[in-house]
Symmetry: C2
Subunit: 221 residues, 2 copies
């Protein structure tokens, strides 16, 4: 695989993966780049260009084999990995994340939940009993998780992230707003800033009232 | 304001807004595009280009006036609007969103919460008592919300979204995975697909093990 793949292409892969998964569910096994583009709101040439980054899977006059493309994109994303994953902070957000996300078959295996609130410790979420934060270090030494999901407030996040990096965690799904990469540039981090999406919506709603109608920025992307 | 602003620029504005807000909090009132770029992981020329889309706020040899830029980006995003907002689906995710998001001063005023689960109706979340779904229509006729936050399962979302569009709602912050724009192309929608971020993290973690080290795609963006 080429190292020249840009972050924008990578970021579109999960969308392709979702759309292709929907097609498979609906029994569609072949699709042209034109059809795929109209469903995804991207140009056909954009799609061809994106998929060419990874070797190209289309066949002239036939289109894409949905199942093969779905499998290959999953492989590129690493969804066939099985990263041992822990979640820290089992409040409403942590519970929502633990309960609603698909981990198995998406590269992750959720193996532990931790919270410092004694009212929460012992609760069973997704068949896992929430452990006390004091147990985290021993658990990590024994079970060697690869990835941590940080659903704690920002203030607690720095100390926890530092400790987890020391314990060998190298990937963070970070809801805490603490900038983990500032002190740990070599771990993989996905920061989730839901507020950014809410601000973008604000722009889009305001833009509906613009005298010329919505700008290009208001496409459903 | 130019209509030529691309979605990628718009999507970066909330990040600028957050960073500038942090600077203000730390008493920093002036910043060069070079400093801003090193903090944000964008190139200085990218930053100049982005901010030029809106008229440019920098002064040669002086840099950016943080407060002015912060105010202007907020204005462009529409954060000085006051969109009346309701939230549907007060499970863990809905509660997390209602409790943790900043609405006031970010363009929104949260005025109502709705759920169909009678165990949840009457609960007070963020000083608002959760109402029954059956009350939604009357509430909307009376209060005319502009924006709805959809935290329901996908199956329920279509019916609810159709009804809300009929009732005049024209912006959706959509956690439901139902594609609202398919039937309603003229409303503003921000879809939140947390799974996409989780899949991107999977790629980044896998890429750490790549023999050549992490690809360009693994930047902290």
């Amino acid at each position: 695989m080429s190292k020249q793949v840009s972050i924008s292409v990578i970021r579109r892969l999960p969308r392709y993966y979702r759309f292709l998964g929907e097609l498979l569910k609906n029994g569609i096994h072949r699709i042209s780049s034109r059809e795929l583009s109209s469903r995804m709101g991207l140009t056909a040439s954009q799609i061809r260009q994106d998929l060419n980054c990874f070797g190209g899977f289309g066949q002239q006059g036939y289109g894409y084999n949905v199942e093969a493309l779905y499998g290959e994109i999953g492989h590129i994303l690493g969804l066939d990995q099985n990263y041992k994953t822990i979640l820290i902070g089992v409040g409403n957000l942590g519970r929502a994340v633990a309960n609603h996300m698909t981990f198995d078959g998406r590269g992750y295996e959720l193996i532990g939940l931790f919270d410092s609130n004694e009212k929460v410790v012992g609760d069973v979420v997704r068949d896992i009993a929430v452990m006390d934060m004091d147990e985290m270090e021993d658990f990590c030494i024994k079970n060697k998780p690869d990835v941590a999901i940080l659903c704690t407030p920002r203030e607690a996040a720095q100390r926890i992230a530092d400790k987890l990096v020391e314990l060998g965690v190298r990937g963070f799904w970070n809801y805490s707003h603490y900038d983990i990469n500032m002190n740990h540039p070599h771990v993989a981090v996905e920061n989730v800033h839901l507020g950014d999406s809410l601000m973008t919506l604000c722009y889009k709603v305001k833009d509906l009232d613009s005298p010329d109608g919505p700008a290009e920025g208001n496409k459903n992307i």
